[in-house]
Symmetry: C2
């Protein structure tokens, strides 16, 4: 891990993200004032469950996986954060302790925002508090969705749901490229890689074609029915 200062490109990425977009420029500047950037190699562990965390993280580039360890060593993914996502904002309000491990899935650059300072700024700036609350809700919502899907859907249904989430409404024919390895998708969906593979092949008869990372849909209806 190397740490650097924020350059103007990084700054642009930050300001263009969902979180900062809705803030007045002054508020953003105040937050970004003393931000530090750190770089991480694939597989690097960013922090571990239980550690003290005094930053909130923003993914400038790369991909981060949040996961917990079972006592037998198995891993369960909680979330995957792509470029432009802010994460671990909730630690700020829960004693600054990490409740999960985080790992760089690929070469990753993070912006680190001092959490104490951010919290203080949130107290003084209603817009920041509001943006934080929206972010917290979004993340809570994602966890809730995930929980519901785990409990209600079979593996092929979860995969279908993931595909549909990446396919604009109303279109029947569509194709897109997975933003990460199938490996990672499997983890995100709470499946073993083998199960994901089998799920894809089960979806083949509903008009889903998989070539490497490219997913093609030929019949949206069929997927929705699945």
């Amino acid at each position: 891990m190397k740490t650097l200062r924020l350059n103007s490109n990084d700054r642009a990425v930050l300001l263009g993200s969902g979180f900062f977009e809705q803030l007045p420029a002054a508020a953003s500047s105040a937050i970004l004032d003393d931000v530090v950037v750190s770089t991480h190699e694939e597989h690097d562990v960013l922090f571990a469950q239980g550690e003290a965390l005094d930053h909130v993280f923003f993914v400038l580039s790369g991909l981060v996986r949040l996961y917990r360890l079972g006592k037998d060593g198995r891993e369960a993914d909680i979330a995957v954060f792509p470029k432009s996502e802010l994460f671990r904002e909730s630690a700020m309000f829960l004693g600054n302790r990490a409740t999960a491990n985080a790992q760089a899935i690929e070469t990753t650059m993070l912006a680190r925002i001092d959490s104490r300072k951010l919290r203080k700024l949130a107290e003084q700036t209603p817009e920041i508090a509001d943006a934080l609350m929206q972010l917290l809700c979004r993340h809570a919502q994602m966890a809730e969705d995930c929980l519901a899907e785990d409990r209600l859907l079979t593996a092929p249904q979860r995969v279908a749901s993931y595909i549909l989430g990446n396919c604009p409404d109303g279109i029947t024919n569509f194709s897109f490229r997975l933003p990460f390895q199938k490996n990672v998708l499997a983890g995100k969906l709470g499946l073993a890689p083998e199960a994901l593979s089998r799920a894809f092949s089960a979806l083949r008869r509903s008009g889903v074609t998989v070539k490497g990372r490219i997913i093609e849909i030929h019949d949206r209806q069929a997927l929705e029915r699945f």
Copy 2:
């Protein structure tokens, strides 16, 4: 469902809860100013997925279950809220739409706080914003915990974890009464009632005794190892 005004007893319950406790009296009063109380019978549906929701709810008495429906009609519990819990605060920031169904598990009284107003007050009062953020984090955390447990633990382990969560640290011998039917506990843990029953009997050999709603633990260590 009948609606009433807030009486002084209700008010005491509200003010004694984790959320209001940390607020200055003036802030609490402002929030509670035009709160309405509604009463619900066992099994009443409070709201359904997708409905517009312009209140945040507080459980004055009783028990509420939050759940989603699968397209085959199966239900998956997202959370169970006991007396003194505030819930659906996240809808406030996500377009005031319910993302799940809610049902009274037993006779229940709810205080309904106007969400638009609460959001406005949060903008003006940093303490309220802060309390809301803490609440959001707690709920996000619960969902995350739940997801991790679902993915990492077997049924008996989840039950053990639930029991341990109700047992003070450091004590080896302990007993408590379930705050609801086994039925409900099963749902909360993502299990069929039969599976819960079998889990309990699997834990018997680790020193757990179940008599009706009373759970007795005779060997904390054994439970932790499970």
